[in-house]
């Protein structure tokens, strides 16, 4: 089977499977937490739009950017190979007439699509609940798609990185946690260009506000010590991170043999 068709079929298989697993439901529910917050915020801060904007920024970006997409990508990215090895189902895939690369790329696409859907639903619902009074404002939609784009790129880059960790290491979760919540947080305190060795730096560089531009406390938190890269370069960097780590994941998966615990 050609690579393109094999990736498409792998995508279909795992997208169908992924939709019905319990953990997808758990993660989807987690993504709806900001929606509940947004409803509460509207009820409490009704009429105070300035507060609402600040709350909106905090809810959407702190939660989604620094927690939700990282935890989603960590679990799904490492799952690409780890769950097959743990559940001893890898032989079903390895004994089909498809290139090994297609398994990685197909599962990656399926999980990225699922995660993007979860992010889009959570972000969209909470964003429009918070901004229900400005539904006629075109800028609202432009900002929404920008947020969505940032998170989508984040999902791709993080998932590719964690997919590589999962294929290369037997137990990738701890290095993944250390990277996602240790390195990515600590890096902002490092001097010079060091913060460019993180994914989150490029994501923050794409946010629709810059350091010193004001905003809520969440903005201050997100932009802490940020020396932004230009948006075009940030997008390129994120796509490059995705491509490089996916290629590495494919190469490792092709070369390595996986022994299940049977």
């Amino acid at each position: 089977m050609r690579l393109g068709s094999a990736v498409r079929e792998t995508f279909g298989f795992f997208f169908t499977l992924g939709r019905r697993t319990g953990r997808t439901r758990t993660f989807a529910l987690l993504g709806l937490v900001p929606v509940a917050m947004a409803v509460a915020a509207r009820a409490i801060l009704h009429g105070r739009t300035g507060d609402l904007a600040a709350v909106s920024t905090e809810i959407l970006m702190v939660f989604f950017l620094q927690f939700y997409i990282v935890i989603l990508a960590l679990f799904h990215g490492t799952s690409i190979t780890a769950e097959e090895v743990e559940n001893r189902t890898l032989s079903y895939l390895l004994t089909r007439p498809i290139p090994k690369t297609a398994i990685v790329l197909g599962k990656f696409s399926a999980y990225a699509a699922l995660m993007s859907a979860m992010v889009a639903v959570g972000l969209g619902a909470s964003y429009f609940v918070l901004n229900a009074g400005r539904m006629g404002d075109a800028a609202l939609y432009a900002a929404f798609f920008r947020y969505l784009g940032v998170l989508g790129l984040g999902v791709l880059a993080y998932t590719a990185f964690f997919a590589f960790l999962g294929t290369a290491l037997k137990r990738a979760i701890i290095p993944g946690l250390a990277f996602g919540f240790g390195w990515e947080t600590a890096i902002q305190y490092f001097p010079g260009s060091t913060q460019r060795f993180s994914v989150v730096h490029y994501l923050k560089s794409l946010l629709p506000y810059r350091p010193g531009s004001g905003g809520g406390r969440g903005v201050a938190l997100l932009l802490f010590r940020l020396e932004p890269t230009s948006p075009a370069l940030a997008v390129l960097a994120l796509l490059a991170i995705t491509a490089v780590f996916l290629a590495l994941a494919c190469a490792v998966f092709r070369a390595k043999e996986y022994v299940s615990g049977d």
Partner: protein, 290 residues
């Protein structure tokens, strides 16, 4: 004619010579298995990093003359008192490294047993639910005490050695008890928390993500709620904030949150109670009906 005798099941009615610590083999096995994991020793060693830095700070505090240039602007950081200990053991990096150890070494404690159907093997022996839970809890306790109690007490001892007098201990005679009390709090809380999450999933990898994720999520959630409701009481949803608050009380410091510290203790106790309820439901023994 020869008689064919049936060898049926027979209940044993004798007295069982029980060992005193029936949970001990479970604890020993759990600790041994954690250390067998690749790279675990490295992760575990990482949990001692904050203590090493604290030890260096403690040394510097006794040799201020030698480190004049270094400490000019950070002098108050190097005043060794219970606040210093509180800062070392309740700060984010210490708790981050500790939770990393727990996620790696202990997340599979119950979930692996559920996945592999080992619970029945446990309960086919003279073990009760309490023994099982105590054994698993002891594994968490080992790592928490090693990372918190041991370095805490050693820091007190080193302070005395570096100072060459007992003045520090005379000034804060209760500090070793504070260290032990705080370590006990961490043990009970994290023991319950880890077992609660581990019992909620059959997948140890998923449990590891949840051990870390729920901890981190609680902090994010509290920040979100605080920004919505504008009240510091929302910090009670944050595990690290509650630990910080309880730690401050145990080290005799002013609680950092503008809410009564007892609420933080209650919030942590709530998680422990939930853990007990979930464990009780998940861990079912093998009943032999007579």
């Amino acid at each position: 004619m020869a008689v064919i005798r049936e060898k049926g099941y027979a209940h044993w009615d004798g007295r069982l010579a029980e060992r005193r610590c029936r949970w001990a083999p479970i604890a020993r096995t759990g600790i041994r298995l954690a250390f067998r994991k690749k790279g675990f020793k490295f992760v575990f060693a990482g949990a001692f990093l904050p203590s090493f830095f604290a030890l260096a700070g403690l040394y510097v505090s006794e040799r201020l003359g030698d480190f004049k240039a270094l400490v000019q602007s950070n002098r108050n950081l190097l005043e060794i008192d219970p606040r210093y200990f509180k800062a070392v053991f309740t700060n984010g990096s210490f708790l981050f490294l500790l939770i990393l150890v727990l996620a790696y070494g202990t997340a599979g404690l119950v979930s692996d047993d559920i996945k592999h159907g080992s619970l029945q093997l446990y309960f086919a022996r003279p073990l009760g639910k309490k023994d099982y839970a105590a054994g698993k809890m002891a594994v968490v306790a080992f790592f928490v005490l090693m990372a918190a109690a041991l370095p805490g007490l050693l820091l007190v001892a080193f302070k005395l050695v570096f100072a060459g007098s007992l003045a520090f201990l005379r000034a804060y005679p209760w500090l070793p008890l504070s260290v032990l009390g705080y370590a006990a709090l961490l043990t009970v809380f994290f023991g319950s928390y880890v077992l609660l999450i581990s019992a909620s999933s059959r997948n140890a990898r998923y449990a590891a993500v949840l051990v870390f994720g729920a901890y981190y999520f609680s902090a994010v959630l509290a920040a979100l709620l605080k920004s919505v409701f504008g009240t510091p009481a929302m910090n009670l949803f944050s595990i690290p904030a509650n630990i910080g608050q309880a730690g401050a009380v145990l080290f005799g410091q002013k609680p950092p949150l503008a809410v009564p510290a007892v609420w933080s203790f209650a919030a942590l106790a709530g998680v422990c109670a939930l853990a007990a309820a979930v464990l009780g439901r998940k861990i079912r023994g093998v009943e032999v009906i007579k």
